[in-house]
């Protein structure tokens, strides 16, 4: 069957891209039929998706336990807030600035601790996140506004007449950034860097002996993850128009950790599903009022019981050894 590929057409719902087209269709139609409240719910879904993707690089791709990711998020948000309120620099110009600030912070903080393993790295990142939060509360150099935070952040703009100031525009801003990140991350997953990361996750010692610079690639993961979290912080700050330390607690880091694990480590669609679960669940279960967090905890346990690998686990790519063996056997026979 020489032409089997072209002849084998299963209709629209069987084709490879149909799911993607349906998802994109819903994405574009949704903001025009939903109320402002539900567009905002979708906006925060987007923020959590971006945060999940950023932690996914560190936790999912390289397997480093990072429970202080809210620290990077906070650095991004406060960089935007301070530079915007003190110097009036437009928010959209500050997106790369926030990303660089968070990345630089990650580089400086993580360089001395990158050799730590497993849970020791985990507690150091927790400590890092807490130090950032407490420092913000204590208002160093009168910059961060203490427990009240920074107020009066502008709507996102480039300084010109184009200003993002409605829920629908925010929705497209965040999901546009998420979309771009997804494209970039898929490219990264299939690159030399992505393969090096996965190799380190599977076996650090073996990766080192195969010539992978383990230290460099681990740091790179932290830096890229922090940069993405910084971007999320930027958009979050401009949406809320104020930032305060209580948005960046240990709890927030735990939520990001759960997003990655509930979705599936290293799986990009999984992380989006995880973010959806974390951000939409409390909305859907609003009628339960004070019992909804009870339900939330129970569902988290049940999900790990029935789908321990996550909702959409990552498929192992590359050449599988068994298939290679069978092919060789076929050749011999």
């Amino acid at each position: 069957m020489k032409y089997s590929k072209t002849l084998n057409y299963n209709g629209f719902f069987g084709s490879r891209h149909s799911a993607l087209i349906i998802v994109l269709g819903i994405f574009f139609i949704y903001p025009f039929i939903a109320s402002n409240y539900y567009i905002d719910v979708a906006f925060f879904f987007g923020i959590y998706a971006l945060l999940g993707l950023s932690l996914n690089i560190v936790l999912g791709e390289v397997g480093l336990f990072d429970l202080g990711h809210a620290g990077f998020y906070a650095i991004g948000a406060y960089t935007t807030a301070i530079l915007n309120t003190k110097f009036g620099i437009p928010i959209l110009i500050l997106i790369p600035v926030s990303a660089v600030a968070a990345a630089l912070f990650a580089y400086i903080v993580c360089s001395p601790i990158i050799h730590l393993r497993g849970d020791y790295l985990c507690i150091v990142t927790i400590g890092m996140g807490e130090i950032v939060r407490i420092a913000l509360i204590n208002n160093p150099f009168d910059l961060t506004g203490g427990p009240n935070g920074v107020f009066g952040i502008d709507f996102p703009s480039l300084g010109g007449p184009f200003v993002i100031d409605s829920s629908i525009e925010y929705y497209f801003l965040i999901w546009g950034v998420v979309g771009l990140s997804i494209v970039g991350l898929i490219r990264l997953q299939n690159s030399r860097i992505g393969r090096a990361w996965n190799c380190i996750r599977e076996d650090e010692v073996a990766a080192g002996t195969s010539g992978i610079n383990v230290r460099f690639y681990k740091l790179l993961a932290f830096v890229i993850g922090a940069a993405l979290a910084g971007v999320a912080g930027n958009i979050y700050a401009s949406k809320l128009m104020c930032v305060s330390p209580e948005s960046f607690t240990f709890w927030e880091s735990c939520l990001m950790f759960c997003i990655v694990l509930i979705g599936g480590m290293g799986s990009i669609p999984g992380v989006i599903i995880g973010a959806g679960f974390i951000s939409l669940f409390p909305e859907i279960f609003r009628p339960f009022a004070m019992y909804r967090m009870l339900v939330f905890g129970t569902v988290m346990i049940l999900m790990m019981m029935f789908r321990p690998g996550g909702a959409w686990p990552r498929k192992r790519g590359g050449v599988e050894f068994t298939s290679l063996l069978t092919r060789m056997r076929e050749k011999d026979a």
């Binding site: 601790i113 480590m265 009870l294 988290m300």
Partner: protein, 303 residues
């Protein structure tokens, strides 16, 4: 000098709280390699149960046992109840997930933590609760220029007594040997006739029970409890566990004491607002130079 001694006593008091909670973390971590996020909430639950016992049994307790008796009664009731909860949580939330590996268990532990925390909120309400002042012994003592309360001394003695018992159980008894053996190598230990399930049952009664007793002591010491307090103490106790070397039980005790003393000295000599930063900075510095904690043994990398 007075400030130094007072802060040392304060630090040892708080440190012994951290040490008692850290033991629960360390035991579970040693056996299951699981960061039991729900442990801090066992502590909070214990505090609330002790509060209920004191409030609703106040007339009975003061007439039959006296103030100190009431304290002990509250601690024992809390310990029994929370030990039961600990076993139930282990059966329901952790046991089905062991085969799936470490990370799913962490999420499950977080789920259990959210569940317990919100159960407390649903039962006792979201506001702060105050331990009844009339039911807490309140005697001041002056030694030279140092002011301390009798309660503080009792708490200190009691926690060191509990730490001592735990040290003895873990280091000297057969059961402690079983725990340590299981922590070293689960499979070999069960081949040597150690009942793995009994070890798990034991650590999930002992750890939460200790946490609950600490909860009652913290309630008496600070008078004020809230349903989210488990997170703060849990985080500090987990820090203490790592500081001492994870899975190393005497290390967890010393880690807790060191952490408490450091925190109090940081608050007294540097700045109260920055004390937690100080604690975490010390932790990070210790881990940079001793990556497996103060008392942790160097673990050879398996290839």
């Amino acid at each position: 000098m007075e400030v130094f001694l007072e802060q040392l006593i304060n630090g040892l008091t708080i440190g012994s709280f951290y040490a008692l909670i850290a033991l629960g973390y360390s035991m579970v971590y040693g056996i299951l390699k699981l960061i039991n996020f729900a442990h801090g909430d066992f502590f909070a639950l214990g505090s609330y149960i002790g509060y209920t016992v004191l409030v609703f049994g106040s007339a009975f307790i003061t007439s039959h046992f006296g103030l100190w008796g009431g304290m002990i009664a509250a601690m024992l009731v809390a310990a029994f109840c929370v030990a039961f909860v600990g076993v139930v949580v282990e059966r329901a939330a952790y046991r089905p997930i062991y085969p799936a590996g470490r990370l799913p268990a962490v999420v499950s532990a977080l789920g259990a933590s959210i569940f317990i925390q919100n159960t407390i909120m649903v039962i006792w309400g979201p506001r702060y609760q105050a331990y009844p002042a009339s039911l807490i012994p309140n005697i001041h003592i002056q030694l030279g220029n140092i002011h301390i309360t009798l309660l503080q001394i009792v708490i200190l003695v009691l926690s060191f007594f509990l730490l001592g018992i735990l040290y003895w159980v873990i280091q000297k008894t057969t059961f402690g040997a079983a725990i340590r053996a299981t922590a070293l190598d689960k499979d070999t230990a069960s081949l040597m006739g150690i009942n793995f399930n009994r070890v798990i049952f034991f650590i999930f009664t002992l750890g939460p029970a200790l946490g609950a007793m600490t909860g009652v002591m913290v309630g008496m010491y600070y008078r004020q409890i809230s349903f989210t307090m488990g997170w703060n103490y849990g985080l500090k106790a987990f820090t203490a566990t790592i500081l001492g070397g994870i899975g190393n039980l005497p290390g967890a005790m010393f880690g807790g004491l060191i952490l408490g003393v450091l925190e109090m000295f940081g608050a007294a000599y540097i700045s109260a607002a920055w004390k937690d930063v100080f604690v975490f900075l010390i932790l990070i510095l210790v881990l940079i130079f001793r990556p497996t904690g103060l008392f942790g043994e160097k673990v050879a990398e398996k290839v």
